[in-house]
Symmetry: D2
Subunit: 303 residues, 4 copies
C-alpha cells in the first residue's frame, strides 16, 4: 500500500474539520496553541516512516505521558496491577470519585488521573529523581535528545491543579500514596508538560507494535506486558469516549488534551496525530477523524 499517498488523501478529507472543537483553555500556555495546527506520522514495524503536516513540531503530551510513565513503571515492577491500580474502565468522570471511595482509594486504571498519580507515586519510590528518568526514557525511546519538559506549562498546571491535589490526598488517606503529596504532584505536573512531536511518538512507542521490542532491539516490555498495555489502551485510553473511539477507530490509543493521539496497530505499526481542537470528551476532533479514516481505508481496525 502506498501510505504516503493514502495519508495525503486523508489529510485532504480532514482539512475542512481543522479548526473545529475547542483548544484546552484551563492554562494559558495551552490556550495559546494555534487551533489550526495539524501533524501526522506513522512508523511500520519494519521501520518505514511516513508523515504529513507539522509532524516534527513538539506539542504538549499531557495525558500521553501517562502511557510513558506506565511503561517505565512496568519495567521495574510487574506487580502494580495486583493491588495498587486496576485494569477496568471507569465510567464517567462524575463517578470516578464515588468509585474511588467505594473501592477504597484504588483507581480503576492507570489512565485516569487518579491512576496516573499512583503510577507517579510508584516511580518516586523506584527512582531518586523520576523526572530525569522519565525524560531520559522518552529521549532514548524516541532517539531525540531535544525532547524536554515545558516549565511554563508545568508551573501553570501546579497553580490550577486542585482536583489532582484532591485525588492524591484522598488516595493517601487510604494508604495508596506512599510519598509526599507535593512531591507526587510536582512530578506528575512535570511529566504532563513533556513535549514531543508526532514523529517522536511513533518512534518512542514502536515497541507496542512489536510485542514489546523497540526497533533498536531493546526489550521494553515483555510479550504479556505489551499485550496488557495495548488492551488497556483500547478499554481505557481515550477518556470517557473509549466505546465510541473503539467502534470508530478500532485501535488501542492514548489521547491528551494537548490534541495528540498515539495509536497502535498491533504487530504492524504506530500512528501519531496532532490537532489541538478537542471534542467534549477531550479527544482531538481531527485526530480522531484522521485515525478513523485510516482504519476504514486500510481495513486495519482490530474489529
Amino acid at each position: 500500500m502506498n501510505y504516503q499517498h493514502l495519508i495525503e488523501k486523508i489529510y485532504q478529507e480532514v482539512k475542512p474539520s481543522i479548526g473545529k472543537g475547542k483548544v484546552a483553555n484551563y492554562i494559558p500556555a495551552l490556550e495559546r496553541v494555534d487551533i489550526n495546527s495539524f501533524g501526522f506520522a506513522m512508523r511500520t514495524k519494519s521501520g518505514e516512516e511516513y508523515f504529513i503536516g507539522e509532524a516534527l513540531k513538539p506539542f504538549s503530551a499531557q495525558s500521553i505521558s501517562k502511557l510513558l510513565t506506565l511503561v517505565l513503571c512496568l519495567n521495574n515492577d510487574d506487580t502494580i496491577f495486583d493491588s495498587k491500580v486496576g485494569i477496568e474502565p471507569s465510567g464517567n468522570a462524575f463517578n470516578s470519585l464515588v468509585q474511588l471511595e467505594y473501592e477504597n482509594g484504588i483507581p480503576r486504571n492507570p489512565f485516569i488521573n487518579a491512576g496516573a498519580l499512583v503510577i507517579t507515586d510508584i516511580l518516586l519510590s523506584q527512582y531518586t529523581n523520576p523526572e530525569d528518568e522519565i525524560l531520559f526514557f522518552a529521549r532514548e525511546l524516541a532517539q531525540n535528545h531535544g525532547i524536554d519538559y515545558n516549565i511554563e506549562v508545568r508551573n501553570s498546571e501546579k497553580e490550577t491543579g486542585f482536583r489532582n491535589a484532591a485525588l492524591v490526598n484522598f488516595m493517601k488517606s487510604y494508604g495508596n500514596i506512599h510519598n509526599n503529596v507535593e512531591r507526587v504532584l510536582d512530578c506528575y505536573f512535570t511529566h504532563c508538560s513533556l513535549e514531543m512531536s508526532c514523529l517522536d511518538l511513533v518512534r518512542a512507542f514502536s515497541f507496542l507494535a512489536n510485542n514489546g521490542t523497540h526497533s533498536n532491539g531493546q526489550h521494553v516490555l515483555s510479550y504479556r506486558q505489551n499485550k496488557k498495555v495495548n488492551s488497556l489502551l483500547l478499554t481505557c485510553g481515550t477518556y470517557d469516549a473509549v466505546g465510541k473511539f473503539a467502534y470508530k477507530v478500532g485501535l488501542p490509543a492514548k489521547s491528551g488534551v494537548g490534541g495528540g493521539i498515539i495509536a497502535v496497530i498491533p504487530n504492524e505499526m504506530t500512528l501519531a496525530v496532532w490537532s489541538p481542537g478537542l471534542d467534549k470528551s477531550g479527544n482531538s476532533v481531527v485526530g480522531s477523524l484522521f485515525l478513523e479514516l485510516f482504519t476504514t481505508y486500510t481495513g486495519k481496525s482490530i474489529f
Copy 2:
C-alpha cells in the same frame, strides 16, 4: 493449524480447573446444573467446525441473549445509539444506578441489564410478539429448530427479578421505556431463558467474524454495524471484568451467568465455550481460561 489437536490439548490443560468457581444460584433451575459440565465449539469463516466435550448440549444463554436481541434490534433500527442507549463501559455495578440517575435514565451500553431492558422495550415497539421473533431469529441463525426457551427458568427469574423491575420502572420515570413495565420484564426474562449449545452459538454468530454476513449468505448486520457490535463486545461484553478479559483473552466476547461465552476473532472465526463455574465477576472460570489459552497458542488475540 490442526485445530482439533489444539483444542484437545487445551482441554487437557483446563481439566484440573473444571469444578472451580460457583454455579449461579439465585434460581433453582440454574443451581441444579452440574458444575463439571464443559463444552467448546469453534467455526471458521470458511465453515469448518471443531468441538469438544458437551458442545451439543443446550445450556441457559442468559446474558448472551443480550447480544442476540441487540443484533435483532439493529436490523430494524440503526438509530438506537443516538438517544436510547450508550456505547461506553459502565464502571462497577454499584455505580451503574448512580450513573443511570446522573445520565437521566439512559443506560451506558446495551450489555448491562438496564441497556438490555431498553433494547427489549424497543423490540416490543418493533414487533407484536418479540418473543417469537427472537426465537425464530435464534433458530434461523443457528439453523436449529430445536432451540427453545426454558419456561421454568423464565418463571423463576420473574419471581426474583426485583432489581430488574426497579431498573425498568426507574428508566420509565425518565421516559426511556415506552411499553408496559410488566410486558418488558416478561419479554426480557423470556429471552434470557433461551437455551443454546456451543455449536448453536458459533453458528448463530458466525456473521460477527464475517463483516456481518452469515455463512448462509444473509446480511445480518452492515459492515459498520458489525464493527460496532464487536467493539462493544470488547469494551462492555464481560461484566465488570472487561479490562481483565481484554488483556487475558483479547477478543470481543459476551458471557452469561449460565457459564457460556461466545467470542469472535474478527474475519476469522467464532468460538463458544461452556462451563458453569463462575468467577466473582460472573464469567465462566474454565471458559475464560480456555479462551486465554486459545489466543495464547494461536497468537490470535487482537492485541
Copy 3:
C-alpha cells in the same frame, strides 16, 4: 394571647404571597387545584380551636399521610426502627438512591418515599386491609366520618408512579419488602390520596402536642414514641429543606405536595395550613411563611 386576632393579622401579611410558587402538576387532579386557596387551623392542648380561610375544605394530604401511617404502624410494632427503616436525615434527593444502595435497601427515615413505602409494607403485614384501617384511623382521630380517599388522584398516581415502583422493587431485591410489590404500591398511592381539611389535621394530630394522648383520651403513642415522632418531623419532615424550615419556623412539621403542612408546638398546640403554591423543595410557600410568622410573633419556635 388573642389567637384569632393574631392569625387574622398574619393572614393579612401573607396575602400578597398567595398565588406564588407552583401547584404540583404531575397529575391532573392536583394541577386543577386553585393556587389561590388558603386555609389555616390551630388547636391548643386544652381544646380551643381557631381557624381562618378555607380551614374546613378537604385537600390532598399526599405526604402528610406518611405521618398517619407511621403512627398507625408504631401502634402495633415498636421495633420498626431497629432494622427496617432509619431515623436519620437523608441528604438530597439525588443521593437517596445511592444511599439506599449503600445502606442495603434500608431507607434513612420513614418520611422519604422509600421509608414510607416500607411502612406501608409493614402495615400490609399487620392488617388484612390496611386501606380501611388507615381511613378508619384518620376518621376516628379527626372525628370526621366524611374523610375519604380520592380515587381519581389514586389512579393518576398509579399511572405515573414509576419512581416509587422502582424504589419498592429495589428494596424488595434487598429483602426489605415482604408483600407483593403491586399491593404495596396500591396501598401507598391510596393513602397518599387521602383528603383532609386543616381542621381535620389539627384534631387528628392533637396527640402530638400532648405526649401521645389524643384529646379524646386515647393513648395513640407512648411518651417516648411521641418524642421520637416529633423529633423525626423536625429532622426529616419537610423534604430537602428541613434545615431551612427548622431555622425559619422551628417546629416539627410534615408537609405534602398538596400544599398542606401540619406542625406541632410540643405540649401546646397543633397547627395546620394549606396553600397549594409550592417552592422548589415541594413545601407550600404561603404555608411556610404563615408558620414562620406565627412562631416569630408568639416566640414559640422550639429554638
Copy 4:
C-alpha cells in the same frame, strides 16, 4: 429543681457506662486520653452554675471548635449561607463527597468537615491572623485566659489529615476556597486543637441559651442568627446520628471526637459533658447518655 442533686443522681446512673466505646485513635495525643475521664457542667440563663467530675479539666474541643468559628464568622458576615455553605443535613459520610460534587463544591452545612473548612477560609479572608482571633474569642467568651491550642495535637492532625486536604483542594477546584490551601488546613487543624473544659464551654456558649446575648452583656449573635445556629445544631450537630440524638436527647448540640458535647436548652441553660469513649458515630457514649437522662428527668427536651 435541685440541679446539683439531679446531676449527682445521673452521674451515679451513667457510671457503669464509663469506659464503654472507643477513644479516638487516629492521632497519639488523643489516643492517650484516659477513657475513664468524665466531667459535666451546666449554666443557667441567670448565671447559676453546677458541675460534677472533671468539669474544670481542659480537653480537646475538636469539632466543637466548628461552632466557635461559625459564630465568629457570623459576627462579621451574615451572608455566608447565601452562597458558600448550606444549612441542610448531609446524609451519611460516604455520600458527603458525592454530594459535594453534585452540589458543585458547596458543602451542605458548616458542621461537616467540608463546611467547617469553608468557614475557616472565610475567617482567613476576614482576619489577618484568625488563629489569634479564634483564641481571643474563646478566652473572652469563656472568661478564661488559660485556654489555648495544643500544638502536639495540631501537628499530628496535619500529618494525617489527608482527607481534609482532599476536601479543601476539591472545593478550591470549584472556586469555593479563596485562600491558600495549606493556610486553610493550618488554621483548621489549629482551631480543632483548642482545649477547653466543660465549665469553659457552658460559659462561652451561654449566649445560645439567651437569644444571642452573652451573660456579660455582649451581643454575640442577633436573635435570628441565634435561632439559626440552634436549629443547625439540632439538624446537623452530631455527625451522622442527628436523628437518633434528636429523639433521645432532643436538644441542639455539637459533639467532638475528643469526647465533648455542648448542648443548649433554648432560653434556659447550656450544658457540657465530657467522656472520651465514642460510639460508632463519633459521639461520646456517656455524654449522650447523661444528656438523655437530663432531658428525661427534667422534661426539658424541646420535643
